[in-house]
């Protein structure tokens, strides 16, 4: 494995405290420590090779809940991505589609919708309007982020071209929370927000006591230190309940991008619903809208529909 990544991720600092297990959706499903970040770091510390941990690394949902609560500050997502990238079959270059040259990011707030939101044209149009945001014709930025998370290698030329164009934007809003980790790295000076945070300014007034507010776990966990206060204030102001865990981490019900919804997703959604018994469910992530709609016995709507 790349020695630089080894140092950057800090996996050597893992104490095996297992606090990360408490929020890990894979742990909740399997109760097998080897399938979790805790198991991967402990095995690496004891000399395991990336190929020994392939099944474990590939099982990760990249929700970032482990990173959000790790007392030792291990960069768990970078570690898992590095493990995936070190697997022999992960040699292809990331990125497949590009936005046509006619689309310009310059000076605009750009909404990066991802496939699930694109599939709901009406909602996408409404959200873009609410945010006064432009929508690129394809998801080149979030595709690139997803490919990197999958362990694919980025073509430096392509990465440079894509980020140079998008860097001209005045702000980015990611409907897929996993992309934020990469966006903030690529564009440190650019405001990059999750869809929920971006919409709350216009939609928070529609929340009320009895609502269960389902945060986009991947967006929340990517910047938990800041967002934890923002969402706690939202809860106190509106009286809604938050879907975060006892540790105030967000555990996704929806699967990772590109993987089908499974019974595990529904189990997790039911677990969240069972805790609160809400009168209405409001979700941030477009990919969880259908999931909660299929298991909840109360109305489920997207945050943007509150405006």
């Amino acid at each position: 494995m790349d020695q630089d990544i080894t140092a950057v991720t800090g996996f050597g600092n893992c104490t095996g405290c297992a606090v990360c297990l408490l929020t890990c959706p894979v742990w909740r499903r399997t109760h097998d420590v080897l399938m979790t970040n805790c198991g991967r770091t402990r095995a690496l510390q004891a000399g395991a090779a990336p190929e020994d941990l392939e099944a474990s690394a590939e099982a990760c949902l990249f929700c970032g809940a482990c990173a959000a609560v790790c007392p030792s500050g291990v960069d768990t997502l970078s570690l898992t991505a590095a493990l995936r990238a070190a697997l022999p079959q992960k040699r292809m270059t990331a990125g497949r589609r590009r936005s046509p040259a006619s689309f310009t990011y310059a000076g605009r707030t750009v909404l990066l919708p991802g496939p699930d939101l694109r599939a709901d044209a009406l909602l996408l149009e409404k959200l873009a309007s609410l945010l006064d945001a432009a929508v690129p014709p394809c998801d080149e930025l979030s595709d690139l982020a997803a490919d990197l998370d999958a362990g694919l290698r980025a073509d430096p030329e392509r990465l440079r071209a894509v980020t140079a164009a998008a860097g001209e934007a005045s702000g980015l809003v990611a409907a897929e929370g996993f992309a934020l980790r990469h966006l903030r790295k690529w564009f440190p000076a650019l405001p990059s927000k999750g869809l929920g945070e971006a919409l709350l300014g216009r939609c928070r007034g529609g929340l009320r006591p009895g609502d269960l507010y389902v945060v986009d776990a991947r967006a929340f966990n990517s910047d938990r230190g800041r967002l934890i206060r923002l969402y706690d204030a939202l809860r106190q102001e509106t009286g809604c309940a938050l879907s975060t865990s006892l540790q105030r981490a967000a555990i996704p019900a929806g699967p990772a991008r590109g993987t089908p919804r499974s019974a595990d997703s529904e189990t997790q959604a039911r677990w969240v619903l069972g805790r609160f018994r809400p009168r209405r469910v409001v979700v941030e992530s477009p990919s969880e809208l259908g999931l909660y709609g299929s298991v909840a016995e109360v109305p489920v709507l997207h945050l943007g529909e509150l405006a």
Binding site: C17, L22, D52, L53
Partner: protein, 514 residues
């Protein structure tokens, strides 16, 4: 059960070396690996999955202490009581050691397997039922206390007492004690058990409680895993309440300990304990489940305490260090440590109207953040009320001798006097009414200390206990040499005979106690 004779104690190491020289294993009681293949094949034929792959084994190479290392031959995830029973029956038949691990929050290698099977109980982590009327919960024993708390909270309930560490498992805790800052009122975690489902060392499945097979119940609780594997537990729980926490600061550890004893005797607070930064900043914490209890405390007890509020203590410390400018680095350390820790004990997102709503999370996060590390050395002394102050003062001197920075954590434990489970346990034989415990934890940080140095430190702490006839929380594993010194041959031999009777092949958690 017809137990086969022990395998000859051959040396499994480097058989090809020094071929002309007869050799004998240095520790003949240590298992030599014979029978593993047949054992594993037997279990696999019954559909029990065992991993022998090195990465899977490597995960279990050490415990939270990080100093005791060993590797099992294989790992199994506990999935059901019946599966655990099959494993133990086979373990007896093939004489294969079984080391049981839950959270693995031991520091002396008690959950490290030196060969044989590592049975990870966390595969059994479900809450089975909650009885809100009876205020009890039935849970699988591999569950983390945090996960249990999360399930209970959904019903407006909370556990009674549990370690200040949410990644301890229930089953392991019940078998060693489990101490919380509410233990002065509610006792140790083991004392909240109503009944247990246990797999005996010979693989029998038994339910036990104070009325059903009480002998087994008393042996298993605080039994350090020697007399059975707890697979399910019914425990008493209570209504959830947020807590109010108050701190009083001392520069004298003796005064703080005496005040702690006074508060415990007077049942003055719902939670109390001592947490220090060396012996310079001694923090007596008290907490309350209700405003009434807090008001009563301030009305009756506050004036009796010699501790100061934060401002008063800061002023005294400022004067103290102004007169001792050569101790400026120590003052800066105290200040930086206090500034780093204090916000973590009052995080706004775990607070509601000035009360801590998630104490399990707040305490545990702080424990790992400020006291956790890849290597942890936490010797302790468990004493009667009469011996508490002297033992801890002497332990503190040992800390000062070995380390620049360290922490003491002291609590009291309410006892139900006369219970057989307290025999050969962390509860000192001479304690009545209350036992007291203190952990001595050096802040190792990035400094390199040799194993010999750390072991010498532990030995000096434990020597105090042997001399004063106290007990220890962590007397197993690496420290088991102290067991006979602390408890005497007669008691230990009696328990050894019980163990031999219950575990003919002596395979369940070997090397922990006996």
């Amino acid at each position: 059960m017809n137990t086969p004779p022990a395998e000859p104690a051959a040396d499994p190491m480097a058989a090809e070396s020094l071929p002309e020289l007869p050799r004998q294993q240095t520790n003949p009681s240590r298992w030599n690996g014979a029978g593993w293949a047949a054992f594993a094949a037997h279990l696999r034929s019954r559909g029990i999955e065992i991993s022998e792959k090195r990465p899977a084994l490597a995960v279990y190479a050490t415990d939270s202490g990080g100093l005791a290392c060993g590797m099992p031959h294989g790992v199994a995830l506990a999935r059901s009581t019946e599966q655990v029973s099959e494993i133990m029956k086979a373990a007896q038949k093939y004489r294969v050691p079984v080391t049981v691990k839950g959270g693995g929050l031991t520091t002396e290698g008690e959950t490290v397997a030196y060969g044989g099977l590592l049975l990870d109980m966390r595969g059994m982590s479900e809450v089975l039922s909650i009885d809100k009327a009876a205020l009890t919960v039935r849970t699988q024993a591999g569950i983390y206390w945090h996960s249990l708390a999360e399930a209970l909270r959904r019903e407006g309930l909370d556990y009674l007492s549990a370690p200040l560490n949410m990644t301890s498992s229930v089953g392991g805790t019940l078998q060693v004690g489990g101490i919380d800052v509410n233990s002065p009122r509610l006792g140790c975690s083991a004392d909240q058990a109503v009944s247990l489902k246990v797999v005996t060392p010979t693989g029998e499945i038994k339910e036990c409680s104070e009325t059903e097979d009480p002998e087994l119940f008393e042996r298993v609780l605080l039994g350090y895993g020697q007399f059975g594997i707890v697979t399910e537990a019914v425990m008493r729980v209570r209504r959830f309440t947020p807590i109010t926490m108050r701190y009083f600061y001392y520069s004298s550890i003796v005064e703080a300990m005496e005040d702690l004893k006074m508060l415990v005797r007077g049942d003055a607070a719902d939670y109390c304990g001592i947490l220090t930064i060396m012996d310079k900043a001694v923090n007596l914490l008290v907490a309350f489940d209700s405003d009434e209890r807090e008001r009563a405390f301030f009305r009756t007890w506050r004036k009796e305490l010699r501790g100061h509020g934060e401002a008063g203590f800061a002023l005294r410390m400022a004067v103290h260090y102004a007169l001792r400018p050569w101790k400026l680095p120590e003052a800066l350390y105290l200040l930086s440590r206090k500034n780093a820790m204090q916000p973590e004990f009052f995080p706004s997102h775990h607070m509601e109207k000035g009360k801590i709503v998630d104490r399990t999370v707040v305490f545990s996060n702080a424990v790992w953040k400020f006291w956790g590390g890849r290597r942890m050395v936490i010797p302790d002394l468990a004493t009667s009320e009469e011996k508490f102050v002297e033992a801890i003062v002497r332990g503190n001197e040992v800390c000062r001798k070995y380390f620049k920075y360290y922490t003491l954590y002291c609590v009291a434990i309410k006892l139900r006097d006369g219970l057989p489970r307290y025999e050969l346990s962390c509860i000192p034989p001479d304690a009545r009414g209350y036992a007291y415990g203190c952990e001595f934890e050096p802040m190792l940080g990035g400094a390199e200390y040799s194993r010999d140095y750390l072991q010498s430190f532990k030995n000096e702490i434990y020597d105090i206990g042997a001399e004063m006839k106290t007990s220890y929380y962590r007397f197993g594993g690496v420290m088991k040499g102290y067991i006979r010194r602390a408890f005497g041959d007669e008691l230990v031999d009696r328990h050894l005979a019980l163990k031999r009777e219950a575990d003919p092949a002596m395979v369940l958690n070997p090397d922990v106690i006996f």
